[in-house]
């Protein structure tokens, strides 16, 4: 029973890491608030990745806790209201590179199994 639990935990970690990467990548365009980040990911993936707010906000706060993003209440340019904007830090940029290369390795590993090189012949 414990081993299945462990696997579930690992899967969650993998997905969490991916979500972190996606958020960091989104913030590379410039500061954004939670709603914008969620919507952006959803739109860019053609609604393939439905953003769950239940994981988005904890992820944002976790990233802030680690110092990869900072937050600040700012007035939105098109609305007359304040939103909490998240901004990528230098540390966050470095982390993005790390996450990206990890993901690439992973993707390559998966594709080399799925689509072996013999296909080139």
């Amino acid at each position: 029973m414990s081993s299945t639990k462990e696997k579930a935990q690992q899967r969650a970690n993998l997905l969490q890491g991916t979500l972190d990467m996606l958020i960091l990548r989104t913030l590379l365009y410039g500061p954004a608030h939670g709603h914008q980040i969620g919507k952006h990911i959803q739109r860019t993936t053609n609604d393939f990745l439905q953003m769950q707010h239940g994981s988005l906000y904890p992820a944002l706060h976790r990233l802030e806790q680690r110092g990869w993003v900072t937050s600040k209440w700012e007035t939105a340019p098109d609305k007359n209201r304040e939103f909490k904007y998240y901004r990528l830090t230098e540390k966050g940029k470095k982390q993005l590179v790390v996450e990206e290369s990890k993901w690439k390795q992973m993707a390559e590993a998966v594709s080399s199994v799925m689509w072996p090189v013999t296909e080139e012949n």
């Binding site: 939670g34 709603h35 769950q52 707010h53 239940g54 706060h61 806790q65 909490k84």
Partner: protein
């Protein structure tokens, strides 16, 4: 951001979520939905905001703390709802933890706290052993001659020192201040590894006779008597009437325990800390004596890597060499005993302290068991609540947490109160510190004690909370929830657990009661023992003659003759007498009597305790004369002696001791003593055992500067104290009279430690008994409530009320009886330790053992009566209708 800013941060999070939610709503509105639908759609898209917040809290990493605070709040609320239970449980834990912490602090201070010196575990005391005298003195202080030999030949010690402690007047004659002086060889500074903060240590030159008039002050004496004078070095102070040049001041951190040598053995509880250090020197003649005076306290520092056993072996070998070279008339078999300094200082206080610690831990155990019992019955009543939680998906860990949180809060509150209690008790225990270890200043609760309390609270939580928690975690929700009726009774497992707990309480209580009984009986016997002397209407005073004007025996004896004459003339005085040692403050000096014609080596001679007394001493304390006569003032100057019966029958078996002669030391040079009388044996050294062989010599033969007066009065002695002082001062105003008190008070004081132990044990035992009674009551009340219907059924089927009574009584007393047997077994098992603290009573005493069980049964039966009465009063009709 820290966890205590949670609230602010949480508000921020709420604001963030709300603003984003509003944005979502706006977007939905743009899709052209009605306001109601907009809201619903937005919430659907957003999800459960409470859950999101919880998840974010987890991400912050504060969830455990939040949960803890929530648990604490919840537990406090639950405890608040049943104040009776909470107060009883909390006070039980507070008393248990507080008392244990206080006793532990005392034990820690006496036995565990390192002495305030560098590497204190390397410091050891050295004593000599003389096989021929081992019956009277198992170990003896060190002789200067042997010490010098060890110093030259040993390979085990870094440094060694000899020392002596005495009390001397400091300052101008007339108003001298009495200070404790430590006279030590120069090695003391390297043994203790301390250096004066100001000035220097003794030089080798200053350790020679004639050059020893230099002094090093302790920090406190320097501050208090010399105002911390920075120019004190080189100044001259007057010690014992002689000028001493101050060469140093010890650092503030230097505190030296009082040491005991032959002169002070058992006589004084040095009340003052050491104030001044002076060099200890030996005359050429003294150093040349092959046996010498075994009268110096030996202290040494072991070399790194050398164990006590190895060093002892080496010293034994050196002692063997010394023995082989002793002259024929002093033949003795010598060896040595090395003891770590701290162990030596603790001495015989170890056992009583351990017994007290064990007893107080027993009390704590009973307290924990009681709280467990209370918690168990609460857990049973909360079973449904737990089952609901389990059915709703609470994990096993969460259930255990729910079950243990109340215990934890109780333990924290009880522990806190316990620490407060201990902080109040501890300072009052100062006077029970062994005098040798009472040199570090005021005793107070410190971190060691608080740490102990904390540990105890944790243990109490685990011990008291474990059973209810394990019961709860085993809860099968469907069973409990199905079983809706009140018929459901306690599970057999829980019943067994509760009965086992009552048995434990009973066992520990019986053991404590029995031990208290033994100590009390022992103390009663000790006080009632035939002392052989009387204390009624008798005053005892101590006098310290300064050297100034009283530097020889002649002057001192004349002073006392004068004082005694004046005292005896007072109308209220029956007998006033001089004695070198007051009753129950020590043995006197040890010496060998050589009967005329006996030419054995001195070490083969029997060892007796000598005392010098004035003629009226025997009448003053009513020590009966068996044969012959007392000496009188008209014998002034003659070498006469009285001997105790034991001495008479040992030295002159079968002969008439009157008129016999003996001498101390060399008969060729010393005038022999003539025995003029025999007095009866008594217990003047210790109430616990008959006196050794005693020889009384007249005070004109020997008077030490420190001595005592005993005065038998015709009236209330407490009114005479002032008159005694005035009379002494009418002879010489400058003579200090440190204490004047009743002799009966001194007798009571000689057993003060035993009384303290008995009082504490009594308190522990009564508390444990009360708790045991409470435990039995709780278990039975609960079980009667559980069996309400069963009892109703029995009565309806024709059971007689007395048989119901009996049913409940048996239920309550069976575990108590089993526990009582186990408790007596426990007490018998520790008989070896306890026995050594007892006087004329066996640790297996049948009457007391039965009595202890009887007391426990009486308490428990009375605890059973109310529940039993309630059971018997059950109305069967109502009981059966409650379905």
């Amino acid at each position: 951001m820290r966890w205590w800013q949670t609230r602010k941060r949480d508000a921020d999070l709420e604001r963030e979520l709300r603003s984003d939610l509003e944005l979502e709503e706006e977007e939905q509105r743009d899709n052209g939905l009605s306001p109601d639908e907009v809201r619903r759609a937005a919430y659907r898209a957003f999800g459960n905001t409470t859950l999101i917040r919880e998840h974010v809290h987890e991400a912050w990493g504060w969830a455990p703390i939040e949960r803890l605070l929530q648990d604490a709040r919840y537990a406090l609320r639950q405890l608040w709802r049943s104040p009776g239970f909470s107060i009883v449980a909390m006070m039980t834990l507070a008393v248990g933890i507080g008392a244990t912490t206080a006793i532990f602090t005392l034990v820690y201070d006496v036995m565990l706290r390192p002495l305030p010196f560098a590497q204190p575990d390397r410091i050891v005391t050295i004593e000599e052993k003389v096989a021929e005298w081992s019956n009277l003195y198992p170990t003896l202080p060190v002789s200067a001659n042997h010490f010098t030999f060890w110093q030259q030949h040993n390979k085990s010690f870094d440094s060694m020192a000899l020392m002596q402690q005495f009390s001397v007047p400091l300052g101008a004659p007339g108003h001298p201040l009495q200070v404790e002086a430590l006279s030590a060889t120069p090695g003391i500074f390297s043994v203790l590894q301390v250096q004066p903060a100001l000035g220097r240590t003794f030089t080798v030159d200053e350790a020679q006779r004639g050059h020893e008039h230099v002094a090093i002050l302790t920090y406190d004496l320097w501050r208090e008597q010399f105002g911390g004078d920075p120019g004190i070095l080189g100044k001259t102070i007057s010690l014992d009437g002689f000028p001493y040049s101050v060469i140093g001041v010890m650092p503030q951190s230097f505190h030296m325990p009082s040491i005991q040598t032959m002169d002070t053995l058992g006589t004084t509880n040095h009340p003052l800390p050491i104030g001044v250090l002076v060099p200890l020197t030996f005359s050429k003649e003294r150093l040349a004596e092959e046996m010498g005076d075994l009268n110096y306290f030996g202290l040494a520092r072991l070399k790194t890597g050398i164990s006590v056993a190895v060093a002892n072996e080496e010293l034994n070998a050196l002692q063997h060499t010394i023995s082989a070279n002793l002259p024929a008339d002093e033949k003795a078999t010598l060896s040595a005993a090395i003891t770590p300094f701290q162990e030596k200082l603790v001495g015989s206080n170890r056992k009583p302290l351990m017994v007290l610690l064990a007893a107080v831990m027993g009390l704590l155990l009973v307290g924990c068991v009681n709280v467990t019992n209370l918690l168990l019955s609460r857990a049973v009543s909360q079973k449904r609540q737990m089952a609901v939680a389990a059915a709703l998906g609470a994990s096993r860990a969460e259930l255990v947490r729910m079950a243990i949180r109340e215990t934890a809060v109780l333990a924290v509150l009880g522990g806190g109160l316990g620490v407060l209690l201990a902080a109040c008790i501890v300072p009052s225990m100062q006077r029970y510190l062994p005098p040798a270890l009472d040199f570090r200043g005021a005793l107070h609760l410190d971190w060691a004690g608080v740490g102990c309390a904390f540990l105890l609270a944790t243990l109490a939580t685990l011990a008291a909370g474990a059973a209810p928690a394990s019961m709860v975690s085993r809860t099968a929700p469907q069973e409990v929830l199905h079983n809706d009726s009140r018929l459901a009774s306690e599970s057999p497992r829980s019943r067994r657990a509760r009965r086992a707990l009552v048995a434990i309480e009973a066992a520990v209580s019986v053991a404590l009661v029995l031990m208290t009984g033994l100590l009390t009986a022992s103390l009663v016997k000790l006080m009632a023992v035939d002392r052989g002397f009387t204390t009624e209407r008798t005053i005892a005073a101590t006098v310290e003659l300064p050297s100034e004007g009283y530097h020889d025996r002649q002057h001192r004896a004349e002073f006392y003759r004068d004082v005694l004459q004046r005292l005896n003339r007072l109308p209220g005085v029956e007998h006033a007498a001089f004695t070198s040692v007051l009753p129950l403050t020590g043995g006197g000096w040890g010496d060998m009597a050589r009967i005329s014609g006996d030419s054995r080596p001195v070490t083969q001679l029997p060892l007796e305790n000598f005392r010098s007394v004035s003629p009226q001493y025997f009448s003053a304390i009513n020590l009966p004369l068996i044969a012959g006569r007392f000496f009188s003032e008209s014998d002034w100057g003659k070498n006469l002696a009285l001997v105790s019966q034991k001495t008479a029958s040992s030295l002159w078996p079968g002969k008439d001791p009157i008129g016999q002669q003996f001498s101390r030391g060399d008969p060729a040079t010393e005038k022999p003593f003539t025995v003029v009388g025999v007095v009866s044996d008594a217990r003047t050294v210790s109430l616990a055992k008959p006196d050794p062989m005693l020889i009384y010599v007249p005070y004109w033969y020997r008077v030490e500067p420190m001595a005592g007066l005993v005065i038998r009065t015709r009236q209330d002695p407490s009114e005479m104290a002032d008159m005694v002082r005035q009379t002494i001062w009418s002879v010489d105003r400058g003579v200090p009279v440190p204490t004047v008190r009743t002799l009966s008070g001194m007798v009571a004081d000689s057993v003060a430690n035993q009384r303290f132990e008995k009082d504490l044990l009594l308190f522990f035992a009564v508390s444990a008994l009360l708790l045991a009674g409470l435990g039995v009551y709780g278990v039975l009340t609960y079980s009667v409530a559980q069996r309400y219907r069963e009892i109703g059924l029995r009565l309806a089927l024709g059971a007689q009320r007395p048989s119901v009574y009996w049913l409940v009584l048996r239920d309550g007393l069976l575990p108590v009886a089993i526990g009582a047997v186990a408790g007596v077994a426990l007490a018998f098992g520790s008989a070896r330790v306890v026995g050594s603290l007892l006087f004329q009573i066996s640790p297996y005493d049948p009457v007391l053992s039965i009595g202890a069980v009887g007391v426990l049964l009486a308490v428990c039966i009375s605890a059973c009566l109310l529940p039993a009465w309630r059971a018997a009063a059950v109305d069967p009709m109502r009981a059966l209708r409650t379905e």
